[in-house]
């Protein structure tokens, strides 16, 4: 479904701030793969997702989405196939617009937006039904401005917005990191359900190793712009935090002292 072939990205090339964020990175996701992504701060996890979404062009390599080469396409042209949820609950919704208007914006992801009235009666019925599945009572607050909702409600809404149109790819960038543990757990449950029901091919970055082990069918670990571990199936099911730490130590070598602390944060 997604193929990254030898992707490289360097920020601020030729300046003192030069930063090689992705380094000849390759990754192949099969349809329905639900991949959790871990790695220390600055490993390049977000950069990988941004490269896939097309926030900026990559320096080298190719990005294939469902067989189509999208390397040269800008972000808004790729958007039709990609749903995203960010760490900051403010990022994924339009705060000054109503819940139903936000959902309608998402319903038209990647499509031409014309002069039809945006939220029709049948849209509203559909949104109500979808919101009810979140179990947060949002179906009764469709004409509330999203800015009035809590962080957890906004993240759940963003998840719905990202997945409602069944994207070919769902990108989640630490989307529970800003939530309290109970809310984070609830949002993760919703995530699992949405991904499984729609069989979405998903990349989920998380800072929490337990979550990375517990969710998804595959786990990758990144370090210094590269994928250093790729585990799936039975092997992933039997993983423990301890094993992950040891593997990281073995592959990443000397950087473990600082990274161990970062890797275990929140877990």
């Amino acid at each position: 479904m997604l193929k990254l072939e030898h992707i490289s990205k360097t920020f601020n090339a030729g300046t003192v701030n030069e930063k090689r964020a992705l380094c000849d990175l390759s990754l192949h996701l099969r349809p329905g793969d639900y991949v959790t992504v871990i790695g220390s701060n600055g490993a390049g996890k977000s950069t990988m997702l941004n490269a896939v979404a097309g926030v900026w062009p990559v320096d080298a390599g190719r990005i294939l989405l469902d067989g189509e080469d999208v390397t040269g396409k800008s972000e808004h042209r790729r958007a039709g196939n990609i749903g995203r949820v960010f760490q900051d609950p403010m990022m994924g919704t339009a705060a000054d617009m109503w819940v139903e208007e936000n959902l309608d914006l998402a319903l038209l992801r990647g499509e031409k937006r014309g002069l039809r009235w945006a939220v029709t009666k049948s849209d509203r019925a559909f949104f109500r039904e979808q919101l009810a599945t979140l179990g947060l009572g949002l179906e009764d607050r469709m004409t509330t401005k999203v800015g009035m909702l809590s962080g957890g409600q906004r993240q759940a809404l963003t998840l719905l917005m990202a997945s409602m149109k069944k994207p070919k790819l769902l990108l989640l960038d630490e989307h529970t990191a800003a939530l309290d543990p109970a809310t984070a757990k609830k949002v993760l449950e919703i995530t699992d359900r949405i991904v499984e029901e729609n069989r979405l091919t998903t990349l989920m970055i998380t800072h929490n190793m337990k979550d990375a082990i517990r969710h998804g069918n595959r786990l990758i670990m990144m370090n210094q712009g590269k994928i250093i571990l790729d585990i799936e199936g039975e092997e992933k099911k039997n993983l423990t935090k301890q094993m992950l730490m040891e593997m990281f130590q073995k592959v990443a070598g000397s950087t473990i002292d600082t990274d161990e602390a970062l890797l275990t944060r929140n877990s």
Partner: protein, 317 residues
């Protein structure tokens, strides 16, 4: 002059007489305020093209009517000219990466030369209501009020509809959260250009009507228009929220932007009636706008102040 004689010289009748004219002008300025509302509130950007496109609208309308064109067609062309001005600002900003404030200033600056050319290198062009058929005029104030009110009513309704459509929602999303808009496949550059064009079309319409109302176009008629537009938007918002509170919906917001123009002009009428120096009006307007713009910031700052840091008393947990 003693205070007593000053007050006795103020005739309420005179004030009452100048109110209708103020209302008519206020409604015309209100259309410009609606344009400012689109950029300032919906797109969340300050567009300084306004001063130039207001004059542009007046210049195009007057010259075309003088050339024998029917007034409605002249006004239509003025609107298109204004949209073109907004388009240029949009392209300077979106395609050439010039910050929007600067892009607006550049367009506005260049419009001074263009407007002069349109007016045949004259700084002022008179347009007599006796010789030409105009849409409205200060000679017939009741009908001017009616005409401008009807135009405002129709346009507020049209824009209410427009911003409820898929395209309109995309523009609102662009102003509200551009990163989300991009992630949803919205071409935010195009949305900005569209919004700037629509906004300046309204501003030019306002200029075209104003030049007919006052019977001339002047190269400086748009000077400071953006500040008056902002004042109208802000005053209208404050009054609208005061009157309707949470019930103030989108239709109400836009209506109150237009009504803000009327309220602003009634203040002007009173200032003139009190025989305060009308040259101070711009200073007063600027102070009002500055205060209103600063209010949300100051309110926020009072909540989190370093001066009061650590002095909140007992821990609240």
């Amino acid at each position: 002059m003693s205070a007593a004689s000053y007050f006795s010289s103020l005739s309420l009748l005179k004030l009452a007489k100048s109110v209708p004219g103020g209302v008519a002008q206020g409604l015309i300025w209100g259309l410009m305020a609606l344009g400012v509302y689109i950029t300032f509130r919906i797109l969340d950007a300050a567009d300084l093209t306004v001063d130039g496109s207001f004059t542009l609208g007046g210049a195009v309308a007057v010259m075309m009517i003088l050339g024998g064109c029917p007034a409605w067609l002249a006004v239509l062309c003025a609107v298109l000219a204004g949209m073109l001005a907004g388009f240029v600002t949009g392209v300077l900003h979106v395609k050439l990466g010039i910050p929007i404030i600067l892009a607006g200033i550049l367009t506005q600056f260049s419009l001074y030369s263009i407007n002069l050319r349109i007016m045949g290198m004259a700084a002022n062009k008179a347009l007599s209501v006796d010789k030409y058929e105009l849409l409205l005029s200060s000679r017939a104030i009741p009908s001017a009020i009616l005409t401008s009110f009807a135009i405002a009513f129709v346009l507020v309704s049209v824009f209410y509809w427009y911003f409820g459509t898929e395209r309109g929602c995309a523009i609102r999303c662009t102003g509200n959260n551009p990163a989300l808009a991009r992630a949803l496949g919205i071409n935010i550059g195009l949305m900005k250009i569209i919004a700037l064009s629509l906004s300046n079309g309204l501003v030019a319409l306002s200029g075209a009507l104003m030049s007919q109302f006052q019977g001339f176009a002047d190269i400086n008629m748009g000077r400071g228009a953006i500040v008056i537009g902002l004042a109208a938007v802000i005053i209208g918002e404050a009054v609208g929220r005061g009157l309707l509170g949470k019930r103030l919906n989108f239709y109400g917001r836009m209506s109150f932007a237009v009504l803000g123009g009327v309220m602003y002009y009634l203040v002007v009428v009173v200032v003139l009636w009190l025989r305060l120096n009308s040259n101070d009006l711009k200073l007063i307007t600027a102070i009002i706008v500055a205060l209103f713009l600063a209010a949300p910031y100051l309110r926020e700052k009072r909540k989190v102040s370093f001066r009061r840091g650590g002095k909140e008393g007992a821990a609240s947990c």
